[in-house]
Amino acid sequence: MQQFLNIFIGGLLIGGIYSLVSMGMSLQYGVAKVFNAAHGEFMMFGAFLTFWLQQNGVNPLVTMLVVAPVMFIIGFILYRTVFQGIRTRAANPGVFESNAMLAAFGFYFIVQNIAVRIWGSTPRTYTFLGKSMSIAGALFNENRIIAALFAVAIGAAFYLFLNSTRTGKAIRAAAQDTTTAGLMGVNINFVLALCFGFGAAMAGVAGSLISICYSIYTTMGLGYTVIAIVVVTLGGLGSIPGSFIGGFILGVLGSVVAYWQPGLVVASYYVIFIILMLLRPKGIMGK
């Protein structure tokens, strides 16, 4: 029983970070309709930015105040320069989705290679809040608990932002029907770029949180992209609360499988994906 609790709580802790990564992807796909295959790379970039600042004496939790705006600006500019151009040239939304996805894969190669050129491919790590702490009898590092709490807090704050501000309302309107929202006076190109930027910022912050508790390396992005894909599908494409819950489900599942057979974690995500495709393609919260 104690063993089971250990695995379960460990899964919830990593699940918080999965939630944050996936919410970013869900926002980018659900509203801006860009299936961002470079999402994991943005996360990796955020993690290395935190690492670099930490080496220069900044508290890792404070670095998030730098990482988030930097990633937001990168995402915003990327949308305005590249994806908006693809969107205006595409014949129909389907063509835009597939072209945008391929362009995102292009960014996957670009960002990863720039990172490898700068930071090499050796894993990096630093210690921050390394003491352990007990939850329900199980011992966990403080940094993992802090990271999970931050992830949940950021997710909740963003949800509130979507539901209670004017910009949030514009984003939700654009998610429902881009064209009609535009006709109702929403500045569509600005709102979509905003969503893409927010998604990138979430990925960056998730990267900061990951660097606090795990070792980071320049090729780690792809693994997290695959996780985000599965979580986003699990929660329902474009559903923010769905991604939030899905992250925890996948975190627990991953930690159970990792306890039993570490080599089969990715395969287990895939089994989930296949079952979803067969039984409920719209996900747990999809409409």
């Binding site: 796909y29 299936f35 295959a37 590249v82 151009g85 693809i86 040239r89 595409a90 014949a91 389907g94 063509v95 989705e97 597939s98 072209n99 996805m101 391929l102 362009a103 894969f105 292009g106 960014f107 996957y108 190669f109 670009i110 990863q112 290679n113 720039i114 050129r117 792809l222 695959v226 894909i229 599965v230 599908t233 494409l237 057979q261 080599g263 089969l264 990715v266 395969a267 895939y270 994906f273 296949i274 495709m277 067969l278 393609p281």
Partner: protein, 320 residues
């Protein structure tokens, strides 16, 4: 048929040029220098991969990123059966295995929207790599296999054969009623379904057919590698190369992917051996983004547009 009714000029162009190319490629290993024979082997490989990719993804608009999975399956077929039987049988085994895999993947995902298909196929390559690594390390306690090697000329001629078959099948498919159905699916799937096309079945079968050729290519190329392991066999780049080459060349017709594949293979070869070797992937990504942003109809689309302008064809003003 009356001989005067045949349009000789048209037939000599549509039949003559491909015939000349086939004869030239057929005698090339005897007249060309070794380096260029190897380069042409890669031309043939990528032309086959790009055209096989276009058969399905180009016409229907469903972007498949699983080419590497089928290619890798072919490589593994060569490793497992290469010693036991002649290469020609192994090619059919590799192709058939890819066909079956594509059929299963298609039946799971092709009922749904295109984005699910793209996501699923992309993850498939990662899945195969992980599971095979796990299988080899944990269960079998070995890593990788050795493959029976063939001479360069044998590899060349097998690929040449596969390439010719692929092009002929792609051409016939495009002209058949199935080609029309595929085009209908690409333009408006709902309308295609309403005209009585069994869209799911057409999509699944075409996807499986295109995968057959990818698997066959994998079998032949494996005999060039001597040693393989999951990391080598399931290289995600093999998924992106056919897609990028086809879009780069233009997916509107069969010439586009072929031209794109030849040009891009040449660029790749120059970059990989030159001083920019370490920046290859970076340049690859940049070309991918630039192609999609500035050449959505590919090189062939661009040439057609320029040609129209030179000939002064008047078009109604369109927006978009």
């Amino acid at each position: 048929m009356n001989l005067k009714e045949i349009n000789w000029k048209k037939y000599s162009l549509t039949g003559g040029i491909p015939l000349l190319i086939v004869i030239f490629l057929g005698i090339w290993p005897y007249i060309g220098p070794t380096y260029y024979v190897t380069l042409f082997t890669y031309f043939l490989l990528y032309v086959t991969m790009a055209i096989a990719w276009t058969i399905f993804s180009g016409t229907t608009g469903y972007i498949s990123l699983a080419s590497a999975a089928f290619y890798g399956l072919g490589i593994y077929a060569a490793a497992l059966f290469g010693e036991k039987m002649p290469l020609i049988f192994v090619i059919f085994i590799g192709g058939a295995a890819s066909f079956v895999l594509a059929f299963i993947v298609g039946s799971i995902t092709l009922r749904l929207r295109g984005i699910y298909f793209a996501m699923f196929t992309f993850g498939l390559v990662v899945l195969f790599k992980e599971v095979l690594l796990y299988w080899e390390i944990t269960v079998k306690n070995i890593r990788g296999y050795f493959v029976v090697i063939e001479t360069n000329n044998t590899i060349y001629y097998y690929l040449f054969g596969i390439c010719v078959v692929t092009v002929i099948i792609a051409y016939l498919l495009k002209r058949s009623k199935y080609g029309l159905a595929l085009q209908g699916i690409g333009e408006n799937e709902e309308a295609a379904a309403h005209t009585g096309i069994n869209v799911t079945m057409v999509k699944i079968l075409t996807f499986a057919l295109s995968s057959f050729f990818m698997g066959a290519c994998g079998v032949v190329m494996a005999t060039k590698m001597t040693y393989i392991d999951p990391q080598i066999a399931f290289n995600p780049l093999m998924s992106f190369n056919p897609a990028l080459m086809s879009i780069f060349g233009g997916i509107g017709n069969l010439y586009g992917p072929a031209v794109g594949a030849v040009l891009f293979t040449y660029i790749q070869e120059k970059l990989m051996t030159g001083s920019l070797k370490n920046y290859y992937m970076l340049i690859f990504g940049a070309i991918l983004v630039a192609t999609i942003l500035f050449l959505p109809n590919g090189l062939m689309g661009l040439i057609q547009n320029v040609w129209k302008r030179i000939k002064g064809v008047k078009r109604a003003p369109t927006t978009g």
